[in-house]
């Protein structure tokens, strides 16, 4: 049935589908997982690191990119499409600073990206961008924000979300575990992001990349040692929990 309505982007199918947009969302699922968490004084982005070829420069294969000093994003999907979107967003951030003499709000830049994506779903000869993005940052007034965009050009604010390969599993984990206690401190919020990723990442801490923005501080990419330390803490906490449960059972 889809065969006649998925050739040109501008054609609706009889039951109201835009198949190219839906297929673009399938392309997003081919990218590795990215998770975003909005804490009280911190926003966290965690991604599953892509396996890098032996001769490839690792630092040029990044899923997390800064759009401005106070905004950064992680994407999942087609690498080249992401590069274009990120470039346009970066230019817009600076243009906004120069024009309005204020840094962009996270919602503004998200709306800009989403509008760009929507334009590509409504013109002929062009295909939609095959990426979803998680955009995090702090507004001028200090409010932490997390937004998610998808290839159709919609965007929504989230407390925590995941995109990419096993997004569904991660989102279910977050729905169960995102509580006020879980994000009470900055460290706890970071650990929640790692725990969410560990649900789907195969080989543990060395395949995770993490970035945080604290209020009034620039983007910080965590080093692998720090991540390993946090993973070790999480493992220890799990063991302690298991021990406690055993003791409870035996008494």
């Amino acid at each position: 049935m889809a065969a006649r309505y998925d050739r040109a982007i501008t054609v609706f199918s009889p039951d109201g589908h835009l198949f190219q947009v839906e297929y673009a969302q399938e392309a997003v699922k081919k990218g590795s997982t990215a998770v975003g968490i909005r804490g009280k004084d911190i926003v966290v982005l965690g991604v599953e690191k892509k396996s890098v070829a032996k001769l490839q420069e690792e630092r040029t294969v990044r899923k997390i990119c800064a759009l401005d000093e106070h905004v950064c994003m992680a994407f999942a999907g087609l690498t080249a499409d992401a590069r274009i979107v990120i470039n346009r967003a970066r230019v817009e951030c600076q243009s906004h600073r120069l024009t309005v003499e204020d840094p962009v709000t996270v919602e503004y830049i998200t709306r800009h990206i989403a509008t760009l994506k929507q334009r590509y779903t409504q013109s002929n000869g062009r295909r939609p961008f095959g990426i979803s993005a998680l955009i995090v940052g702090f507004d001028y007034d200090g409010t932490p924000r997390l937004y998610q965009t998808d290839p159709s050009g919609t965007y929504h604010a989230w407390k925590a979300n995941a995109i990419g390969r096993s997004a569904k599993t991660v989102r279910e984990f977050l729905e169960k575990n995102y509580t006020d206690e879980a994000i009470a401190t900055d460290n706890e919020a970071i650990k929640l992001a790692i725990k969410a990723l560990l649900e789907v990442v195969q080989s543990g801490g060395k395949n995770i990349d993490l970035a945080v923005i604290r209020r009034n501080q620039p983007l910080k990419l965590l080093e692998s040692k720090e991540i390993e330390t946090l993973v070790a803490e999480i493992e220890k906490e799990k063991e302690d929990e298991a021990e406690k449960k055993k003791q409870k059972k035996s008494t």
């Binding site: 392309a27 990218g31 590795s32 070829a53 490839q56 294969v61 999907g77 087609l78 080249a80 569904k168």
Partner: protein, 285 residues
């Protein structure tokens, strides 16, 4: 023709066909057809021992109780990793054919190089009635019948049981339901009516159909009442991939009854057979 002046001229009638030219044309056409047919002919080249045993048996047929055919890179990779990795299999033959997508070597006797798309036969040393065929080359529609006839022509029909493993893109799987990412890859089965046992996975639902070599083999088995079961794996990856290969594991249950298999396979061995495209492919991040 009579002219006005009473002389008679003999003229060639344009109504008469020029027989000589036509014959040449037809001959040329026939010649070209014959050449193309010869070029597209399917040849099975057996190793000397098997060729000898074929000659020695009165009917020019091999004793075979089980034939396992793997069509496609993932099915072939699965067999290579799980079944053919022990030392007890001998390469006994290959099929040499030519078509526009499969330019086989011009000399039939040369066995295909490892890694080339090819159609290879293996036989188990301890149980020579078990034959495995790995087909990774493209066989054109007009050659499928020949392939099936020639291969099955070399095998004893009585007591023969066939299993076919093949893979296919999930985009060709027609279903009214939305397929979540976690469901793929998955197996579906088809059996010939002579096949008595239970298949290890759900049957292929309508309106899905099989095409190509698996369909030709299954049709042949159905017509000649040979018990045959086919396992088709639908996958969303276009290159050989270890997760897709693992999907064929239920078939190991049947195979382990015939031959001794590696008890436990590490993921590393599988990955050796799967082309590592992930690191090279920077398309998706």
């Amino acid at each position: 023709m009579a002219t006005f002046f009473g002389e008679v001229l003999s003229v060639y009638s344009r109504a008469v066909e020029e027989d000589d030219d036509d014959l040449d044309d037809e001959n040329e056409d026939e010649r070209i057809h014959r050449e193309i047919e010869e070029k597209r002919e399917v040849h099975i080249v057996w190793c000397p021992e098997v060729a000898q045993s074929l000659e020695d048996s009165g009917s020019n047929k091999l004793q075979c109780s089980d034939l396992i055919i793997a069509v496609g890179t993932n099915a072939a990779g699965f067999l290579s990793a799980y079944v053919l990795n022990t030392e007890s299999w001998d390469a006994v033959g290959h099929v040499s054919l030519w078509n526009e997508r499969s330019r086989g070597s011009s000399r039939q006797s040369i066995a295909p190089l490892p890694g080339e798309p090819a159609c290879l036969f293996y036989r188990h040393r301890d149980n020579p009635a078990v034959l495995v065929c790995q087909s990774t080359c493209y066989i054109a529609e007009d050659q499928l019948f020949q392939w099936t006839e020639k291969v099955f022509g070399c095998l004893q029909k009585r007591g023969l049981s066939v299993m076919v493993l093949s893979d296919s893109p999930v985009a060709e799987y027609k279903t009214p339901d939305y397929l979540y990412g976690s469901a793929v890859p998955f197996l579906r089965s088809l059996k010939s009516s002579a096949s008595k046992g239970q298949a290890l996975c759900p049957a292929l639902e309508q309106p899905n159909i099989l095409t190509g070599l698996p369909a030709a083999v299954l049709s042949h088995c159905q017509v000649h009442q040979i018990p045959a079961v086919l396992y088709q794996c639908y996958t969303d990856v276009i290159s050989p991939d270890s997760i897709t290969m693992e999907t064929f594991k239920p078939a190991l249950l049947c195979l382990s009854k015939l031959v001794k298999l590696e008890p436990c396979l590490s993921a590393d061995v599988l990955r050796k057979f799967a082309i590592i495209t992930e690191a090279q492919s920077n398309l998706y991040t």
